[in-house]
Symmetry: C2
Subunit: 430 residues, 2 copies
């Protein structure tokens, strides 16, 4: 099948899947969990093939670790599915209900978006997680995984497709794309695909955003800031900055720039420098920072850079508003934290910083769907519409308006009839 | 100022406006209402200039009517503002609250999107309505109105800008663009403009959608269907079809195609034809329709056409599912109605038709923000993400995640600490 035919097939399935009842979807999820357990040997054999090729190709150790899909990962995937089954069905919820006039009732009802295209990195567990989130939310999904994981992804997609089809889920709701050319084809299918969620490098996500008229949900940059306010507790500021920078440097929610109020810089920066040197972090700073602690000089380019590495840029600012202005100029709208003991300062910072996640006295590393309690996540969005921050089930939903009448016509309004617009307290009967 | 400078100015204002409190925004809205009343003469004089030019240019009568902005329209605009003032502030609402761990609390808080670009047709009342919706929701707005309304739009934008600035609303939140070239420039400003809402012809909206990487909210086509089920009450079906088609033919929510179940066609179509002939509607039909009533032959092109005129295409189908398939193939995801006395048929139709608005036993013409009780509307969306159907205040909002800690670091989780993910019942304290 061509990519267009696969997308058509996914679209057709999505129309039926959108009306699938909760029991059917949960039975299908349970069948997937059982099939993963029963067919573990097939998965492990496929993964061994991928790992052998990756080792032959001398893939870096962190990539090999992400690619590995062992019994523990299978158990993790199954546990994830079990927890997804226990969540309420997000589809068909009555979001609002209004009587427009006697016998004319308007309901706003949650429903799936339709067909989601997801492009993900080498981790095969992402395939299970994303496809199960799509199934629970009633969406079809086109998946493109990393080529290193080809055999593992194929095995997983086949198992999921077979297990769900056997339960009565419409065939074709899950489609695995395998080549980079497939991605290019996919970007043109704006009549069939409703949303693209790309996960990967900055350049890759930017490329997707610039080359499709399909809406894209995701983030390119993760330039996160910690701002140490003049009213900060210095030990807390050190502790949170160290965690934000060093707990895992290669991820989007790690801090890249530290902003420090000039009135606290003298006391704070030496302690911070001592703590950071223990973690092997290279410090770069503005000239005022350099007057207090030893740093490499930072240029304008540093404020715009997502290092994804053990490097921290430091700038001294003279006010909270200057910190906010810096973040709104150089940040990426991802996650930014203030350390302060002053409630008003925290409020002002969190209201004025234009980012999806704004934190007070805690590490930027908390910006994550699991930590937020969303269950699994399909990605983190720096978009300004639809969904922002970590995106779980909810971001895969939209709504439709259902209007129930008894032969009502518009011609009567304006003359004989008037709208009541009375809120109703009941769920939609159909 | 260049368009880029204007957009930068709007962006700067939006960052402050997002934190404006409810009292300030309502005082500013009241000041706008008063200024419209006090400066009615200036508005009327400007409108007279536009009308004179439009008459000299021999503009069609319906366009002249839309362009006219008289005392009654000013009163209408003021009444609209009063009702907007009475609505609760949609910004700063706590949408969810979760304790992640002791002293670590996550809040999802509604906030403005930022900078909205709106391109609207000749009606100057749209300028007042849209800019006031943006102000109430804390968004800056770039407005491009029809060139016929140049003087009226200028007068209105100046009055609104001055009245709101005098109350302390950040300068520059409202920007009027005046030329078609400005629109082209605007489409490239994806770093400054967060959402574009185009209102106008199909081709124009499609052009905007294809020529910007800024998200676009709106609709190109409005190909709305009425499906008369085998279980329909025939008189009701005639009445609703006539209203859907004829109550106002030139609008997006008027019906263009009628689908009729073959088991009811013999009894229904002659009555429908008689009623439609009274309204001067040209009927086009499939061959099976032509065997029952006199119609022009319909081709495949008819099913894809938004007539915006007194023409109705008719097709006989053999099942509800065939009707659904027709709508999902040829429709535009706008508004589609079923006429039936059977609840199960209604449920199946409304769940399977993939449109923003699905109606049971009532006219497609109800698909409208005022009729839905949303207050004013900025447009109707056929998008699959963010907002669907008539879009009022709510579509101008997004959310941010606020996380409040006490020095919490991620390094502790996984080892010593566990997440509690306990729902909280309180609004965000900051």
């Amino acid at each position: 099948m061509t990519i267009t035919e696969r997308a058509q097939c996914a679209k057709q399935s999505s129309l039926l899947l959108s009306a699938a009842d909760t029991g059917l979807k949960n039975r299908a999820l349970r069948a997937v969990a059982e099939a993963l357990r029963d067919k573990a040997d097939i998965i492990l054999a496929a993964n061994a093939q991928d790992l052998a090729r990756a080792q032959a190709d001398s893939l870096a150790a962190p990539l090999l670790k992400r690619l590995a899909f062992d019994r523990a990962k299978i158990d993790g995937a199954i546990a994830g599915i079990e927890s997804l089954i226990s969540l309420p069905d997000p589809v068909g919820e009555t979001l609002s209900a209004t009587e427009l006039d006697q016998g004319l009732e308007l309901y706003k009802i949650s429903c799936p978006i339709g067909v989601i295209g997801v492009i993900f990195e080498s981790r095969p567990d992402a395939l299970v997680q994303i496809s199960c989130l799509c199934l629970k939310s009633g969406n079809s999904v086109l998946l493109k995984g990393g080529s290193e994981a080809l055999h593992t992804n194929r095995a997983l997609a086949d198992i999921i497709a077979a297990a769900t089809a056997a339960c009565g889920i419409p065939d074709g709701w899950i489609q695995l794309l395998e080549s980079r050319a497939d991605v290019g084809d996919m970007l043109a299918l704006d009549q069939l695909i409703d949303l693209i969620i790309p996960r990967g490098s900055n350049e890759f996500v930017q490329y997707i955003m610039n080359n499709s008229s399909i809406p894209v949900l995701g983030h390119a940059d993760g330039i996160c800031h910690v701002y140490v306010d003049e009213e900060a507790d210095i030990d807390m500021a050190v502790q949170v900055t160290v965690d934000s920078k060093t707990q895992y440097v290669a991820v989007c929610n790690a801090a890249e720039t530290l902003l420090v109020h000039s009135r606290i810089a003298d006391r704070f920066l030496p302690k911070l420098a001592a703590a950071m040197s223990g973690h092997g972090v290279e410090l770069r700073g503005c000239s005022r920072t350099a007057a207090i602690i030893p740093v490499q000089p930072a240029t304008d380019q540093d404020w715009k850079t997502e290092y994804l590495d053990a490097i921290l840029a430091i700038k001294i600012v003279d006010s909270l508003d200057a910190a906010v202005a810096h973040i709104n100029t150089y940040g990426s709208g991802h996650t930014d934290a203030i350390i302060t003991a002053d409630t008003e300062h925290a409020r002002r910072f969190m209201n004025l910083v234009d980012s999806g996640n704004v934190f007070w006295n805690c590490s930027t590393r908390f910006s994550d769907g699991f930590r937020y309690g969303l269950g699994a996540e399909v990605g983190i969005s720096t978009n300004k519409i639809h969904a922002r921050g970590p995106v779980g089930l909810e971001g895969l939903l939209i709504y439709k308006w259902k209007l129930l009448g008894q032969g009502h016509t518009v011609a009567d309004y304006g003359s004989t009839k008037k709208f009541t617009h009375r809120p109703l307290k009941r769920p939609c009967p159909v």
